[in-house]
Symmetry: C2
Amino acid sequence: MADGLNMSRRIRRTPYTGRVEASGVRGFSVVNHMLLPKAYQPSVEQDYWHLREHVQIWDVACQRQVQLEGPDAERLAQWMTPRGIAKAQPGDCLYVPITDVDGGMINDPVLLKLDQNKFWLSVADSDVLLYAKGLAIGGGLDVEICEPDVSPLAVQGPKAEDLMVDLFGEAIRDVGFFNYGWFEFQGTLQLIARSGYSRQGGFEIYLNGSKFGPALWDAIWAAGERHHITPGCPNLIERIEGGLFSYGNEMTREVNPLEFGMGKFCKLDGSIDFIGREALQKVAADGVKREIRGVLFDGPACPTCSIPWPVMVGEAQVGQITSAIWSPRLMRNIGLSLIARAHWEIGTAITVTYPDGSQQAGEISGLPFN
Amino acid sequence: MADGLNMSRRIRRTPYTGRVEASGVRGFSVVNHMLLPKAYQPSVEQDYWHLREHVQIWDVACQRQVQLEGPDAERLAQWMTPRGIAKAQPGDCLYVPITDVDGGMINDPVLLKLDQNKFWLSVADSDVLLYAKGLAIGGGLDVEICEPDVSPLAVQGPKAEDLMVDLFGEAIRDVGFFNYGWFEFQGTLQLIARSGYSRQGGFEIYLNGSKFGPALWDAIWAAGERHHITPGCPNLIERIEGGLFSYGNEMTREVNPLEFGMGKFCKLDGSIDFIGREALQKVAADGVKREIRGVLFDGPACPTCSIPWPVMVGEAQVGQITSAIWSPRLMRNIGLSLIARAHWEIGTAITVTYPDGSQQAGEISGLPFN
């Protein structure tokens, strides 16, 4: 087989990898130098239907935490993102784009405020820890930056809340979306947020202490049996249908947050200072030249999108699909693409060009897909 | 199978991946968010014997370049490494550990000086680009930092020089070890260095321009046929035998360069300023508490080392093996481990503990293995 993954210490195992392997995982990806399960038996399609109906346990320990702690922690965090964080309180999770000097995206983590001088950035696939260290060293900031022994485990799906109540009590129902609370597990207090990389609802347990990993997995599994729990992972069908973007796929340093509809997360009125402000102010003033859209297109199930596929209107390239898959619910292929302004209206007819040169007809869709 | 790698745009293909797949690759790793071939038919052992006798073509495009360009490029490069770079000339390649404030290793790239104001850091698996950006932004340095479209392709093995002469002419013989020259390929000038991640000799072509990738691969392949060329990749047996270390395996932020015998690359006399100087001066003054060693140990071929294996002397842990494999030449298992000072003498008897709790007897070896 051409797509085996060679293991080494450099590709870090998680506190849950043993359980994941015992559960029949049949594929991984690598995120933040760590294993992310990406496929279980029997198929991504069956995982998709299950996720929409029941509940799944996901090893998302690769969502590493970059801990900023010290007198300048908030100052550094604010410097890194266009989103105003001054009003955040302990208990809040904030989705925060991180931008380069030119407005390009360096990551799109969730910021958790732990206390006035302590924050976690729960990061996607780039070494934000090294970026933060560089900024702190270069800027002479009084802040300690480390990767704590914290490994998120996600419980996702419509039955997630009932499962979590069984395990952590009724108080879990009071945790709002993108909020977190502290809950007891085996004599420890653990941070649990209502969040996750799906549109089906659920929680993420930011497990502090790798040694508790197998016990936490087993406890969730036991509580989940009556809710038809299965092992799962971020589901490509559900993610694309739901209009969730992926750093490294849709988002790179070549795109900016305004192109992804994140204007509400970009405070450009001059009241806060952050890296990339002038560049984003100019983009906002000029208007974005392209914006993220869905693409629906014909044909049998599309191949894996590992290099972008041009989106054409006639002879002109108007975008490129960076993630795509067959939707068994919509019975069409679905993809995500930045689309040039002149062509981004919903319903615009396009063609998608595969790497082998063949083409499929399709049209622009809003997000999420209906 | 449990070790499949799920493909996506985020796991970047290289200019050579198509050729690699056509050559029968059967496994990849991921380095710098990019595919690194890690296994071909028929076996790592046969690849090892071939590499020692003939010549191989390796897709090492994942050795990405972090380009520093501008008036402060040299200042930034020097700030990042304990090695003095002031005397480097265009044409020089320097192995430069990059250290954190506490002396811990952030990467171990090769620095190429292109001209007085332009450098490449050819990096191992961590986002040095983001670290450099952070330092430059934080420190207000006048330097542009980018990842150019440069994708190294390695030609390794004792017949590499003869092959390269066939393709690039006799002048290639004049390129010294860890030097580079400029050579013509299809009307372009390309940087070629005498370097590579093996002890068998060879070259790395820093191909500028992805579009030339397949043509370069094909030209090397054609020139290599009479030298018994095969597709290959960094070979774990040869690397460990040769005492070559791997960032993410042996080296992490928890170790410092003095523990890896890199004292000659650490200018600690106060004549240069770099991040981590005070920490390394203290380590040097106190003497390192552990140092890298080889470990020879018994038993049938060892399993894959994906979590460190404790190295014991009696009841005391004196180190941990971070890479290991069966050597078909030495007819024993070989591994790499930092070893505590009291036990690091060559020949010291140790035991290696596998994750299942079983143990193998062995002893400390010098590096490279004989």
